[in-house]
């Protein structure tokens, strides 16, 4: 295991990217920080800049206007980084498939920048905080 991967697995700092979501997934992400779930006790923390992040939590369909910004955010994130696609929209545009303003799915947008990106899918509409925590644990034990 390289030292970078070893470092990635401890105290994951995440940056939250909304690319046109309905807020549900976003609220559930914030919910993970509040007393009931409290992921900060594992060192998981939301940060204000992608340059500080170990992982990206991407929600939403990836609208045309957001796709450009998503690519830029991914470029700015130090590698290696894990990308979590949270919710049905991010996993495959969901109910918004075929909309004129939808550039997604998000995994394709990220693969345009980096074909080898580590991408994990957490489906659900919205996924429960338990599902998100479980997703993070599974990815961190797999890499």
């Amino acid at each position: 295991m390289s030292v970078k991967i070893w470092a990635l697995k401890k105290s994951v700092w995440v940056f939250h990217v909304n690319t046109g979501a309905c807020n549900n997934c976003d609220i559930e992400i914030v919910n993970m920080l509040t007393p009931k779930y409290d992921v900060e006790r594992f060192g998981i923390k939301l940060v204000g800049s992608p340059r500080h992040a170990d992982a990206l939590l991407v929600t939403g369909v990836g609208t045309e206007q957001a796709a450009i910004r998503l690519r830029e955010v991914y470029r700015q994130t130090p590698k290696p980084c894990a990308v979590f696609l949270v919710g049905a929209c991010a996993c495959g545009t969901g109910i918004f498939k075929g909309g004129y303003h939808v550039a997604g799915p998000v995994d394709e947008i990220i693969r345009e920048v980096d074909p080898d990106a580590i991408i994990a899918y957490v489906p659900g509409c919205p996924p429960k905080p338990e599902a998100m925590i479980s997703g993070v644990v599974k990815v961190l034990s797999a890499i």
């Binding site: 309905c22 807020n23 509040t34 939403g60 957001a66 303003h101 919205p126």
Partner: protein
């Protein structure tokens, strides 16, 4: 030679580390005072009105509940009411009560969410953690009734999809008692706090005239003395049968909006209790086979204000036009009136006060001619906290010392 004055512009957004949608604000500032404000949206535009024309009438509730995750009971309800108006459907009694209960439970957790975020934006994270902890039981109740914590998908043309089982009623009442006790404690703590008074009063005032001109709705309007509420003005579901009050305040500042939301939470708890007590027996849906040609308007009071849906049908399976107006669509532009003349440190709070929570405080860049100063999220939070400390000193609030513990 004519000298041109470069007005510094603060760029806010489009990403925010904590909350919700992408928005890109440009604040023109003079020193610390905001003189103009502009916004670029589109990041979140998903083309729902066009998509809706490709779906069938009974599929659309699932689409419209995903317009906004936290108004996911009121959007489908407004849509369904527009369709029921075209079809001339009378909804069974029990369905009207179930719709009311789901909508009011949504309002409780949504208002608590806002109170928490409001606390966070002024650096009062205790309020944030409290409020978000106390809304959890409400989400659990909704999960038990509808099968999902949000996006309930519980209405359909002619009634409801899921019933509230009678044996669940005592449990809901018990949980409501707990939520009420905690909200009471929270409300007293918030409204008695001298720092919060000093920090929130007189900030981001939206005058009554501006509220009318910007056509704002919901707590934003009721905080400015415009006492409108669709639940009372055009009663739908079971609101006409219940005993409750419309809360309004006249000041128009952030504090007034906070008071309106906190007190409305109690009204909602009262309404759910009463609706559960009088929950009629009977079916929860009637069969609707056909939507005739015609047009209908439906509106419902979402936690943020009036949700309006317009449907036109040509007698087929799909609407020919579906217009949606979410409450934030008219509430957000009112920042032109409420933010100008404010301090930069107050803008995030003022923007958040209408509850779109677009306060994209994370990537702020002051661009002044050739030099650029970057204020990040932390710096802005710091500015806000410094103002809190300054006020605390001015009003002579006791200084907190470690050795006192």
């Amino acid at each position: 030679m004519k000298k041109t004055l470069h007005k510094p512009i603060l760029a806010v957004g489009p990403f925010h580390p904590l909350q919700e949608e992408m928005e890109f604000f440009q604040l023109t500032v003079d020193g610390e005072t905001v003189t103009d404000i502009d916004v670029r949206i589109s990041y979140n535009h998903r083309g729902i009105e066009k998509l809706s024309e490709t779906l069938q009438f009974d599929q659309i509730p699932f689409l419209v509940s995903r317009i906004c995750g936290i108004c996911s009971a009121s959007h489908p309800l407004a849509y369904i009411q527009a369709v029921e108006e075209i079809a001339g459907v009378a909804v069974p009694e029990r369905a009207r009560y179930v719709r009311t209960i789901i909508n009011e439970l949504e309002r409780i957790h949504s208002h608590l969410l806002w109170v928490g975020l409001g606390g966070h934006f002024i650096g009062y994270d205790t309020v944030f953690m409290w409020a978000w902890k106390y809304r959890e039981p409400v989400l659990d109740l909704l999960e038990e009734i509808t099968g999902n914590r949000n996006n309930y998908g519980n209405v359909r043309v002619g009634g409801c999809r899921e019933d509230i089982p009678d044996e669940m009623v005592p449990k809901i009442l018990k949980e409501l008692d707990k939520v009420e006790k905690k909200t009471d404690m929270l409300t007293k703590a918030v409204l008695d706090d001298p720092v919060l008074h000093a920090r929130l009063k007189g900030v981001g005032i939206l005058s009554k005239n501006d509220a009318v001109s910007f056509a704002v709705t919901g707590p934003t309007a009721r905080g400015s003395g415009v006492a409108i509420d669709v639940r009372r003005d055009d009663p739908y579901a079971a609101y006409g049968d219940l005993d409750w009050n419309v809360i309004s305040q006249t000041e128009g500042d952030v504090f007034a909006k906070a008071v309106v939301r906190l007190l409305e939470t109690f009204e909602s708890i009262k309404m759910v209790r009463e609706a559960l007590k009088e929950l009629p027996k009977g079916p929860i849906a009637v069969e609707v086979r056909e939507i005739p040609p015609g047009e209908g308007c439906g509106h419902a009071e979402a936690p943020r204000g009036e949700t309006f849906h317009y449907i036109r049908s040509d007698g087929g399976n799909r609407p020919t036009r579906h217009k949606v107006r979410a409450p934030s669509y008219v509430n957000v532009p009112s920042f032109k009136a409420s933010c100008i003349g404010q301090h930069v440190a107050d803008v995030t709070l003022t923007l958040a006060a209408v509850d779109p929570c677009y306060s994209c405080t994370e990537r702020l860049a002051v661009v002044d001619g050739h030099s650029a100063v970057i204020h990040d999220y932390e710096a802005l939070l710091q500015m806000s906290r410094e103002k809190t400390a300054r006020i605390k000193k001015e009003i002579g609030a006791p200084e907190f010392k470690l050795e006192d513990i």
